[in-house]
Subunit: 447 residues, 2 copies
Amino acid sequence: MRNKIKPSILPGFMELNPKEQLIFNDIVNKITKVYERNGCLPIDTPIIEKEEILLAKSAGETEKQIYSIAREDKKQALRFDLTVPFARYVVQHMNDLVFPFKRYQLGKVYRGERNQKGRYREFYQLDVDIVSINKLDIRNDALVISLAAQAFDSIGLNQYTFQISNRKILSGVLSTLEIDNKQEVMSIIDKYDKIGKDKCLELIEQAIGRENSSYIIKLLGLAGSNLEIIEQLRAFNQRLQEEFNINSGKEELNIGVFELLEGINEIEEVIKTLSILGVSDKNYKIDLKIIRGLDYYTGTIFETVINDNEKYGSICSGGRYDNLAELYTDTKIPGVGISIGITRLFFVLKEIGFLEKYKNSSGVDYLIVALGETLVQCVEINKKLQANRFKTEIYLNGGTLKKQLVYADAQGIPKVIIIGENEINEGVVVVKDMLTGEQCKVCIADI
Amino acid sequence: MRNKIKPSILPGFMELNPKEQLIFNDIVNKITKVYERNGCLPIDTPIIEKEEILLAKSAGETEKQIYSIAREDKKQALRFDLTVPFARYVVQHMNDLVFPFKRYQLGKVYRGERNQKGRYREFYQLDVDIVSINKLDIRNDALVISLAAQAFDSIGLNQYTFQISNRKILSGVLSTLEIDNKQEVMSIIDKYDKIGKDKCLELIEQAIGRENSSYIIKLLGLAGSNLEIIEQLRAFNQRLQEEFNINSGKEELNIGVFELLEGINEIEEVIKTLSILGVSDKNYKIDLKIIRGLDYYTGTIFETVINDNEKYGSICSGGRYDNLAELYTDTKIPGVGISIGITRLFFVLKEIGFLEKYKNSSGVDYLIVALGETLVQCVEINKKLQANRFKTEIYLNGGTLKKQLVYADAQGIPKVIIIGENEINEGVVVVKDMLTGEQCKVCIADI
């Protein structure tokens, strides 16, 4: 006897048992239906892409995490998100598309992250993106968020918060302050939740000095309702203009304040449109600490946490990217997208006990058992039941009636139809209720 | 301006435009529903597996085609089918499964094949497998074929033929002939369609000599209806026994004839059960030239061609594997599976013009257009329509009414609801039929 291999998968990969998988698929199906109902079209792209496409816009972190393929012919790797390939798809298939183009896509993506609980190296994303030629109305940023809200509602999840920001706000302030190392400040703020408020403010002060940092600290400290924050942002902008004497003629100042103002106007429009689109205002909150690691965002950005479970991080993120297609074309193709990390979401929902009460569409309704040579009749009855939209199966592995009832019980099949030779002659079958144990004879004609 | 990258994918990968993708997804959904209706449970496994698991049972060809991952931590690669990972899954999750375990699985698999039309390096398989502990009734071999038949029926495809064989037949004959290089003979027969009958028979004669080859030629030449072929097989077996004086006491002979007889009995049972299960007998045919390249099959094997389009090869294949779990466990876990190569199938259906007349579930029913500040009312009406299961979208990218009608037309949306400020005051909206161009006012209350 040869040595046995231990059956196992690689660390960082999720694999479910069939009962969990049923729930997982039900979640995916419900969300997909929301997207279809709202006119999103499906696409599918290869999991393997040319490296030059995957890495064109990425910083070092992505490159370190990438899964490269060891084939000699071409530099190729596994995609790390669905957005970068989507931008490539849009330009490549431009002539087949109608703009604005709304697409949804479900697919696995790969990141060689450090192995830790709840972080997966292979995970599903379920994305919606809207792109258009030249101009994409800001209200689409609210639309994608509202689609995600409908998605969560469809699976019965309502304790979540979209945390919304706009890159132009922080960027505009930093430009006004004439700060060059914007990226450094942003990556410090990106770690706010991890390192805590005090440490974060300390690092910002180190990076850009006490005076400059006071503005950033003020900005991050804005609080209140969404509309109150917008009001405070306008006041903040006003004061900034005054203090920096914006009519001094210095171009950076004008550009910075213009960008800040654009950011404020955009976030206001997003917030107002969310309300019009029917998203409950308890489900979204302006949060200027949101940064988003991926470099390609240019305006609105958002993440989503499950309330009181912020420690699990974002289950759904995205934002506006106005320049992602510039790699391929001079045509402007602005876009906005939202991505639900389905694998992560499933993990979190399991951890917080949400799945225990999750009601998914049921499994098999009837198990059909042949006693003696009655397979022909079993098939007939099976056909009838399926024509009436029941899920059924015929037990085809022999053995005693008892063994077959044990199977029904273990599978959670509620009813068993027993078709014996004697009964067939009488024109009846026996229907057994697995829950109560009761059984009764039913005329074949009545099924 | 930096240099542009040409947006493109790697050769050997399929990517569809959204209209094609809608059909592709509709095909997948319909087949999936067939499997669910018949009690198959979904599973999903990682696309990346440990190489030791993927390559444990494979011959050199698989190894050459495999996509290895260039990461240092572990030897890992992309799966080349769903069956090998499934065997691993079954043993690993044995305690969570109820046997017989019927599973379906949709997933991408990877084979670095030579690049040619209709051959894909990344392609979807949609598999059903049934496994059990110790014993799996031969009628399950017919069941998986009948599920594939229902799958094809569900998409309106009925001009196809399952070509069915059983490895024990040829193997039993070769054992009786005391031929050691079985594998060589099988790979010659495997090329029958490619090299033609004469060349094939010539090569067999070269491999095992004129006298021995006469038996194989006879076997491959059996013709007639399925039941006639089975009769001829029994006669063939009878003569073989006589000619080789089976009571000579030579063990190979007994083993060979026993195997042959088992093969004949099994194929007979499969054929009979297919009929009972309601598969039309014009859709299946015993074909002893079917070999199947993958090494793990042990009994029933089958391929499927679309009638009059045999040149495209098999769109759906599978068979019985009694020993695939032996890598991991001493417990016997016999199984039988069938795999529809969805990507290949889609390619062939497109080539033969089947997709042109394919009716898939429709897209968006209504485009809702706001004229002026009526987004609030648009959202209300949108909600009503969606509650009544219509697919709808609100146009959110501004521009003239004409531009929005052009969008509806290009997307093939049959009706547009135009919601203007004046109409709102009258309590009506305008509904425009994009096909006839007619438009009429409808009371909002009546929608």
